[in-house]
């Protein structure tokens, strides 16, 4: 809760900082804000509390996911340095929007009442609609913003409709009350309840970019400036999946059998579409967009398994995925800017011109592909473990096959970097970004070698 208040205040303060002539001070200030917010969040560890007549509550679940989101934002910002230099960019506003959207994200992981969930989703989404269009003179960015806005509001409407139906069926917005009503399953209101559940489920599926409501993802990701795409595919996704999990476990845990078929169908579809879609891409950025769809699928495996391992697996995977994705997008930003292209070919020979960038990218790709020595491997292992404990062998076979497909497109980047001839000069990277990239690699390897530091936190 403190982090929500702090981030809101910081967001407003930051707008005032934006009045200063030099934009150079902005990033350090925001990084400081985020560091403070992260520290304050972690203070709530093992200190469960509830606010506003229990509409919002902090527990280890919410603290864990909040920490992942704030940490991700901290890692993402250093890559936005080129905007500091660019004239006419309204950097203070963008940073503030990110801070505000984080507030929405935190609400999405600590709600106890569906209204808070709805408000959280809206706060987060509206910021993102604007951010998506922040590259004003780029037609793709305009398209992204428009598309995201129209689709997003449409699906928010669906969520709201679902919430209304749930209220009609149970007379409650509180998760605990809904859980009680759902387990009773009165014959009279059951259809309304299930319809409400389905609509909310569809709405959240859209937000995390899971199939079949994923279609906006590649276009929006492509049009959005890379730094903000990085934010979308990590922070927004983490918030969405955590909210999703919380909804299902806290409100509908008793009717697992009712929603399981739908969720498992969405999971399989997401895995298939995300991975197979990524194979066909020639643009690295679109590949990462599809890859983020596929990772939504992996994350949803935790939901289908739905047992005592799921929460931890979800948190670990979210962190591992976020770190690797931020590194990938960060490097893509530099390479894309320098070589004026987001294609795989832009990475040709990067191993020769920029060995460090290439190495970091390699670790990130290995992690996303789930190869040992990286956090991604244990993320997958923990997810698969959760599912196998429920004997869902066939689901794991699908996931395994799709992971093998994933290797195909992640390794295309590695091949381009090390096995093709260099095109272009050495790319200059500023020290802060270099430092961030190194930290990301260290964290990824740490998660891959001593996973016990990070798993079983919840």
């Amino acid at each position: 809760m403190t982090s929500i208040i702090l981030l809101s205040i910081f967001g407003i303060l930051n707008l005032f900082v934006g009045f200063m002539k030099s934009k150079k001070v902005l990033m350090p200030v925001v990084l400081l804000f985020l560091a403070v917010a992260l520290g304050v969040t972690l203070l709530d560890w093992n200190q469960p509390q509830s606010y506003f007549s229990n509409m919002l509550a902090t527990d280890n679940f919410s603290v864990g996911f909040t920490a992942v989101m704030v940490l991700s934002t901290l890692f993402i910002l250093p890559f936005s340095r080129s905007y500091v230099v660019a004239e006419n960019s309204n950097l203070a506003e963008y940073y503030s929007l990110l801070l505000f959207s984080l507030v929405g994200g935190i609400m999405m992981v600590s709600y106890e009442n569906l209204l808070i969930l709805f408000v959280g989703i809206e706060i987060m989404s509206i910021s993102m609609y604007i951010i998506a269009g922040s590259d004003k003179r780029n037609i793709l960015s305009n398209e992204a913003s428009m598309k995201y806005f129209l689709m997003g509001s449409f699906f928010t409407g669906i969520i709201l409709f679902g919430v209304a139906l749930l209220y009609g069926a149970t007379g409650a917005f509180y998760l605990t009350d809904i859980a009680a009503a759902a387990t009773r399953m009165d014959p009279g209101t059951a259809p309304m309840l299930l319809m409400g559940l389905l609509l909310v489920l569809i709405g959240i599926t859209f937000k995390i970019g899971a199939a079949p409501f994923h279609f906006w993802t590649p276009d929006v990701y492509e049009g959005t400036p890379t730094v903000f795409t990085s934010y979308m595919s990590t922070v927004v996704k983490t918030a969405g999946i955590a909210a999703f999990y919380k909804l299902m476990s806290a409100a509908f845990g008793g009717v697992y059998a009712e929603w399981f078929p739908t969720v498992v169908a969405i999971t399989v579809l997401t895995l298939l579409i995300g991975n197979i879609g990524a194979v066909a891409q020639t643009s690295m950025k679109r590949m990462l967009a599809y890859s983020s769809i596929s990772h939504a699928g992996y994350l949803m495996i935790a939901l289908t398994a739905f047992n005592d391992r799921s929460e931890n697996a979800l948190l670990f995977y979210s962190l591992a995925y976020a770190i690797a994705t931020i590194a990938a997008f960060g490097i893509l930003k530099y390479v894309g800017d320098a070589r004026k292209s987001d294609d795989y070919t832009a990475f040709n020979g990067l191993g020769k011109t920029n060995p460090l960038l290439a190495f970091v990218m390699t670790v990130a790709m290995l992690s996303l592909a789930g190869i040992p020595l990286t956090g991604g491997f244990f993320g997958k292992l923990f997810l698969f473990s959760a599912a196998l404990e429920q004997d869902m062998i066939w689901l794991i076979i699908v996931a395994v096959l799709m992971s093998a497909v994933g290797i195909y497109y992640y390794f295309r980047v590695i091949i381009a970097m090390y096995m093709r001839d260099a095109e272009g000069e050495r790319i200059a990277v500023d020290p802060l970004a270099t430092f961030t990239l190194i930290s990301l690699v260290v964290l990824t390897v740490l998660m891959g070698v001593v996973p016990s530091l990070f798993n079983n936190l919840l």
Binding site: I371, E389, I396, M419, P451
Partner: protein
């Protein structure tokens, strides 16, 4: 602790090598590999062959899930460790005449791979095993992909996808087994051995594990990555792949397939044996038709490994002991063969059999060592290959006489393609490209002499090695037949 040191030393050395610029990298890597050899021999000296696991290290790894970082060495592991520490310095030495771009990365990757291999051979926890299994794969991917020959990107990629695909199934099987262990779950080898699973479960688990190991060996029909990869990889990479890495598959089957799902194995042993025997004949016949020396040896390797695989699935004493000793012999022979092919290629600029002839006339030393290794490969009595093939064929005969008879064809076919190659390359008239063929340099002798010594050591006194693995193999058979 010794096991941990054996695993970690090459990785530490690899980091050191990375810091070295220029050609010094090879020397440091070679020195590090020699130190590793000393460590391996030290383990051998202190090892008591009584079927127990020694030099145990058992530390919590993912403590809250009951997963331990458990490594140790028993008779089966020790032979593989010895093979690895023996071959890696020779492989590094064999690259002396090549100049690689970015030598420090190249040699660091070789050492890093050694860590992966040794981890695989000493792991006593399924997840540790899987971890190192994949760790060994990454360096060879880069070695073959960056320093390889024509089409290296496509070929290496195919190899990578193939093996990862297989190993993901292995991972799924391991996770499943982990959940079958009682109480707070465990993924230790012993916990898996004690599992009592019904035949139906074992049946599908068999395939999950078999696919992973069969791809690595490779067993027909999972072999299609192998000839291309062997041909394309740089010589050192081919030696690593054929000499050591393919033993990961055999070793994995021995350690994690046969004793864990014995019912599954007995259900599918016939199928596995038939596949292995098809591989023996198929590999040999294709080898006869090859014009490229490297491809010829690659296909011959499919044939020989087929026999080892067949021995594994007989589940009898001869079959398993034969597999053990043949893993050593095959490692020694195939590394020697690939090195000699590399020498010939660097002297003549080609690997085409038809383009050569008359090399013996200037090269007594090369001719003799080549012939010794070749005879080892075709399993002439008194050489290393004979011991292994004899035991293996005996094992297969015990299982099924018909299968034994067909598998026995490998000896005849092997002699056909190997001797034909030797005759056409080494004998006959000299031509322009073999005219100025010089004999071995000191460096090349330093690689080949130890290999030749091993050919005779194993051939004349196989007991040195057989007695190391014997108690462990008997113990394994007890577990399988429980």
């Amino acid at each position: 602790m010794l096991t941990a040191l054996i695993i970690l030393w090459p990785a530490l050395a690899a980091l050191l090598v990375l810091l070295v610029k220029g050609p010094g990298a090879r020397k440091i890597a070679f020195g590090a590999a020699l130190v590793e050899l000393v460590l391996g021999v030290w383990a051998w000296i202190n090892f008591v062959p009584n079927g127990s696991t020694q030099f145990l290290l058992n530390e919590p790894w993912i403590a809250n899930a009951g997963i331990m970082f458990k490594v140790g060495i028993d008779g089966i592991s020790l032979l593989m460790v010895l093979l690895t520490v023996f071959l890696v310095p020779l492989i590094i030495l064999s690259t002396a005449k090549h100049t690689y771009e970015k030598p420090s990365s190249f040699y660091a990757l070789i050492l890093f791979m050694q860590t992966g291999l040794l981890g695989v051979f000493t792991a006593l926890d399924a997840f540790v095993f899987y971890f190192f299994w994949e760790v060994a794969l990454i360096p060879i991917y880069f070695i073959a992909g960056i320093w390889g020959g024509e089409n290296r990107v496509r070929v290496t990629f195919k190899f990578f996808i193939y093996t990862v695909f297989g190993s993901l199934f292995m991972l799924a099987a391991f996770v499943y087994l982990y959940f079958q262990t009682p109480g707070t779950h465990s993924s230790e080898e012993v916990a898996f051995y004690q599992l009592v699973l019904d035949a139906g479960t074992q049946s599908w688990l068999f395939w999950f594990l078999f696919i992973a190991f069969a791809i690595k060996m490779p067993v027909f029909p999972f072999h299609t990555w192998q000839p291309d990869t062997y041909t394309t990889a740089p010589a050192a990479g081919t030696m690593l792949l054929s000499g050591i890495m393919l033993k990961m598959g055999i070793y994995g089957a021995l350690r994690w397939l046969l004793p864990v799902v014995p019912l599954g194995v007995s259900q599918w042993a016939d199928v596995a044996l038939v596949l292995a025997i098809i591989g023996i004949i198929y590999g040999a016949i294709i080898a006869i038709r090859q014009q490229d020396m490297k491809r010829l040896v690659a296909f011959s390797s499919i044939s020989h490994v087929g026999l080892i695989a067949a021995g594994l699935f007989t589940l009898n004493h001869h079959g398993l002991q034969g597999a053990m000793i043949q893993m050593l012999s095959h490692g020694v022979n195939v590394v020697g063969m690939f090195f000699i092919i590399d020498i010939i290629q660097s002297r003549t600029g080609t690997r085409e059999i038809a383009a050569m002839g008359g090399i013996t006339q200037n090269t007594p030393f090369l001719s003799v060592t080549f012939l010794v290794l070749l005879l080892g490969t075709v399993a002439l009595p008194l050489t290393n290959g004979f011991v292994g093939e004899f035991l293996l064929l005996m094992g297969v005969y015990q299982y099924n006489a018909w299968m034994g008879a067909v598998a026995g064809l490998t000896i005849i076919l092997g002699a056909v393609y190997m001797l034909r190659m030797f005759q056409r390359v080494m004998f006959g008239e000299k031509n322009e490209i073999t005219q100025g063929f010089t004999d071995l340099t000191f460096n090349e002798k330093a690689v080949l002499v130890p290999l030749v010594v091993m050919v005779f050591w194993i051939g004349l006194h196989p007991n040195t090695f057989l007695m190391i693995s014997e108690p462990a193999v008997l113990k394994l058979l007890d577990v399988i037949k429980r």
